[in-house]
């Protein structure tokens, strides 16, 4: 079955959306909505935009995790500062509490900075967050091996959340690069 192009009168197939002879849109395609099947949706422009949005959302989920971690560290800093202020002056406990409070405070500031960075740029912040967290847990295990197994469920959950955000961020970047290199949209 043939369709005639209204612009140049060339004969085209009935399923053609554009005239093969002059390249202008055929009336059948323009008149009704363009129906895309589920399989084609993934590779269409709208499908890829949706994928980009979903991946960006997953990557940004790292912000919540990093802010939560920084909140916990600040809490720890405040607790040790309280211990320092209430300890007997000149005691070993007082000096130790101050050092720990300062240390945890520095770590809290780092995590807050990472969380703020992740709002604009989630992937590098997630990578650094994951590495920093595992390194800190390593220091914990070295200084106090008995704490190795404490809270392992939460630790695994946090690592999984950060790893998922890194994966999503990498896919987002790769997909974006692919689409940017692919050229302009075909439809006017």
């Amino acid at each position: 079955m043939n369709a005639t192009c209204p612009h140049c009168s060339a004969a085209n197939q009935a399923s053609a959306r554009f005239c093969e002879s002059c390249g202008k849109a055929m009336p059948g395609a323009a008149a009704g909505p363009r129906v895309i099947g589920a399989k084609e949706f993934a590779t269409s422009g709208a499908g890829r935009d949706l994928q980009l949005q979903q991946l960006a959302k997953q990557a940004r989920s790292v912000t919540v995790t990093l802010f939560a971690l920084s909140g916990l560290q600040f809490l720890g800093c405040v607790i040790f500062a309280a211990i320092w202020s209430t300890s007997r002056a000149g005691s070993q406990a007082k000096a130790t509490a101050l050092v720990i409070s300062m240390t945890v405070g520095i770590i809290a500031v780092i995590f807050t900075a990472l969380a703020a960075w992740s709002r604009r740029n989630p992937l590098p912040a997630a990578i650094v967050g994951l590495v920093l967290l595992i390194s800190l847990w390593t220091i914990d295990v070295i200084s106090n091996p008995a704490t190795a197994a404490q809270g392992w469920i939460i630790k695994v959950a946090i690592i999984a959340a950060l790893a998922r955000a890194i994966q999503a961020g990498m896919k987002h970047r790769a997909l974006k690069r692919e689409l940017d290199g692919d050229g302009q949209p075909a439809f006017a």
Binding site: N12, Q13, S15, A16, R17, F18, C19, E20, S21, C22, G23, K24, A25, K39, A42, T43, G47, A95, L98, V99, M102, T103, I106, I107, I110, N121, L123, P124, I127, V128, V131, L132, I134, S135, T138, I139, V141, I142, P145, I166, Q167, M170, K171, R173, A174, L175, E178, D182, G183, A186, F187
Partner: protein, 263 residues
């Protein structure tokens, strides 16, 4: 039709347009370049994470060796002579160097260029000058933190001299080895992987943060991050790993010199 084609006033136009997307298609039976490309893109992009995975594996391998060194030092030092701590240091330094060297092999095609070039000679003046700044920043940072809380004093050379070794040993282990192998690991393997994944600016920041983290010293983190930024900047601007090695060597060497002078 033939007359129209033979007429020199007729401008030839593409004989075909793609019926699906309207893009001018090449003549003949060649497929539409746009539709063919779009059809070739898989629905779920398969991302090769190899560069990032390799960098993270190297980082965690180095971290594991350092952690093992700390644990061995804590366990063995109490029972044996003070020389045991130094021998553990030798082992750990050797293993770290070996791990880094092995990691350079799969990353060789990214390391070959920055290792093959020396970069402009001006970077070899900038590097020692920058090291004065980095040592000043580090010393001030530690003194400032020390005013707030009593931090344990760190002496990089004392344990080697006490064990009877000459000054050459701390120079090799504290100044030369980190300058070469930490630069190969961080600005080399990890830095090139981050650059491919994140772009140059984010790669310098992330590599500096990782560099500061692996030293496992929260009190030193701020100034180590600044030093890491300086090293990453040198690597990026010079295109070579050697100016960073010079800066690293000068920084660590100056720290040893200040220890020797008792400052």
């Amino acid at each position: 039709m033939d007359q129209a084609l033979a007429d020199p006033r007729v401008v030839p136009v593409p004989a075909r347009f793609c019926a699906q997307c309207g893009t001018p298609a090449p003549t003949g039976d060649a497929p539409c370049p746009r539709c063919a490309v779009r059809a070739a893109i898989p629905a779920a992009p398969v991302i090769a994470n190899v560069p990032l995975n390799g960098a993270l594996i190297l980082y965690f391998a180095l971290l594991a060796v350092i952690a093992a060194g700390f644990i061995a030092g804590a366990v063995l030092d109490d029972r044996f002579s003070p020389g045991a701590g130094v021998r553990i240091d030798f082992w750990i330094t050797g293993i770290l160097s070996a791990v880094t060297a092995v990691a350079c092999l799969p990353a060789w095609r990214y390391l070959a260029a920055p290792l093959a070039t020396l970069g402009h000679r001006r970077w070899y003046l900038v590097a020692p000058a920058l090291s004065l700044l980095t040592v000043a920043v580090g010393t001030l940072a530690m003194r400032a933190l020390g005013l707030i809380a009593s931090l344990p004093s760190v002496d990089y050379s004392r344990q080697y001299l006490d064990a009877g070794y000459s000054w050459l040993v701390p120079v090799l282990l504290v100044a030369v080895q980190p300058a070469v192998f930490e630069e190969l690991a961080f600005r080399g393997v990890i830095g090139s992987a981050m650059q491919r994944v994140l772009g140059p600016r984010d790669a310098v920041i992330v590599t500096a943060l990782l560099f500061a983290t692996i030293h496992l010293s929260p009190a030193s983190f701020p100034h180590l991050f600044v030093i890491g930024l300086a090293l990453g900047y040198l690597r990026h601007r010079s295109g070579s790993l050697y100016p960073g090695m010079v800066l690293h060597f000068c920084h660590n060497g100056l720290v040893l010199l200040l220890e020797y002078l008792g400052v």
